[in-house]
Point group: C2
Chain length 174, copies 2
C-alpha cells in the first residue's frame, strides 16, 4: 500500500509553497515520514535545461511523479507544490500516484499578481519574459479537487485546518 501524494496546484503566488511547507512541517512534527517536492527545487535538481513550453512543463511534472512514486510506495507521504497547469497531466499523475489528494490553491489572478512573490508577473507585464501561467500561458482550474483553499478569503491557519480535517477524515486506506 502506497502512502498518499498530496498535490498543491494553482497559480504562481497563490500560496502553494507556504501551505505545502506548513503541512510538511506539521506532518513531520506529528511523526510522519514525509517529503516536500517543491516545483522550484525540482527544477534546480532534476530539470535544469527544461523550459516552460507545454512539453517541458509536462516532462518536469513526470519527473516529479517518478520521484513521488518511489517515495510513496515506500511509505513516505509526498507533498508536491507545482503549478501543474493542465487537466490532462494532473489526471496522468493522479492515476500513477493513487492514493492522490489534489488541493487547488485558489486566489484570483489579480490577487496573485498583487502578491507577486517572485516578481514574475511584473517581469511579464513589462515584457521581459513570456510563458507566465495565467497571463500568456493557460491555467486550467481543477474541476473536482479533493480540497480547495481560497487563500484570498481564508487565513493560512484556516486553509491548513481544512486540509488536516480532510486528511484525518479520509485515511489513505479508506
Amino acid at each position: 500500500m502506497s502512502a498518499r501524494t498530496i498535490w498543491f496546484t494553482g497559480l504562481s503566488s497563490a500560496g502553494k509553497s507556504t501551505l505545502s511547507q506548513l503541512l510538511h512541517d506539521h506532518l513531520r512534527a506529528a511523526g510522519h515520514k514525509v517529503e516536500l517536492l517543491d516545483g522550484d527545487t525540482i527544477r534546480r535538481h532534476l530539470s535544469k535545461g527544461l523550459g516552460f513550453t507545454r512539453e517541458d512543463r509536462e516532462e518536469n511534472l513526470r519527473r516529479i511523479a517518478f520521484v513521488a512514486e518511489l517515495l510513496a510506495r515506500n511509505g513516505v507521504t509526498v507533498i508536491v507544490a507545482a503549478i501543474a497547469p493542465y487537466h490532462s497531466i494532473r489526471e496522468e499523475v493522479r492515476a500513477r500516484l493513487l492514493p492522490f489528494v489534489e488541493i487547488y490553491v485558489n486566489a484570483p489572478l489579480a490577487i496573485c499578481e498583487q502578491r507577486d512573490v517572485k516578481g514574475l508577473y511584473r517581469k511579464t507585464r513589462e515584457g521581459h519574459m513570456t510563458g507566465m501561467t495565467g497571463i500568456d500561458d493557460p491555467y486550467e482550474p481543477p474541476l473536482s479537487p479533493e480540497i480547495e483553499c481560497r487563500t484570498d478569503l481564508e487565513t493560512i491557519e484556516q486553509s491548513l485546518e481544512k486540509i488536516l480535517g480532510y486528511l484525518h477524515a479520509q485515511p489513505p486506506n479508506s
Copy 2:
C-alpha cells in the same frame, strides 16, 4: 539515520545491472525496503536530453544522488547501477550519501567488449558513436572501493556472496 546507498560502478557490460538486480531481489525477498536506480532507467525518466559529455554525465549522476538521498533518509536502501566514470563525482556522491558502499564491478575491457550486451562497443568501433567509456572516454577505476567483483573470474553467485558477506559484516550503523 539514513539507510545505505550501494553503488555499482564499472564499464558497460562489466555486470552492474545483473549484479545490482540480483542484490535488489535478494534484499527485497529478505524483507528490506530497497529501490534500484539503474543508470539507463534514470536517463529515460529524469535525464532525457542529457548527453555523455563530462558535464552531462555529472548532472545525471547528481540527479541520481538527489533521488537516492530522498529515499535513503527515509530508511530505504538504495542500489545504484551507473558507470560513474570519474573519481571526483564518486567522492561527491559518497559524501552526500553516507553510509555509502562502492562496489567496483571489474572485468577487463576486452571481456566487456566481447560481451557487449548493448552493442555499444561495436557501434563505437565501427565509428557510429563516440563518447564510449573505456574506448574514447575515460574510466577512472576506484582506488579503494568497499568491494571489488571480478566478474571475469568469479561466478555471479560468488560475487553476490561477497557483497552479502560485506553487508552483513558491516551493518550501516557500525
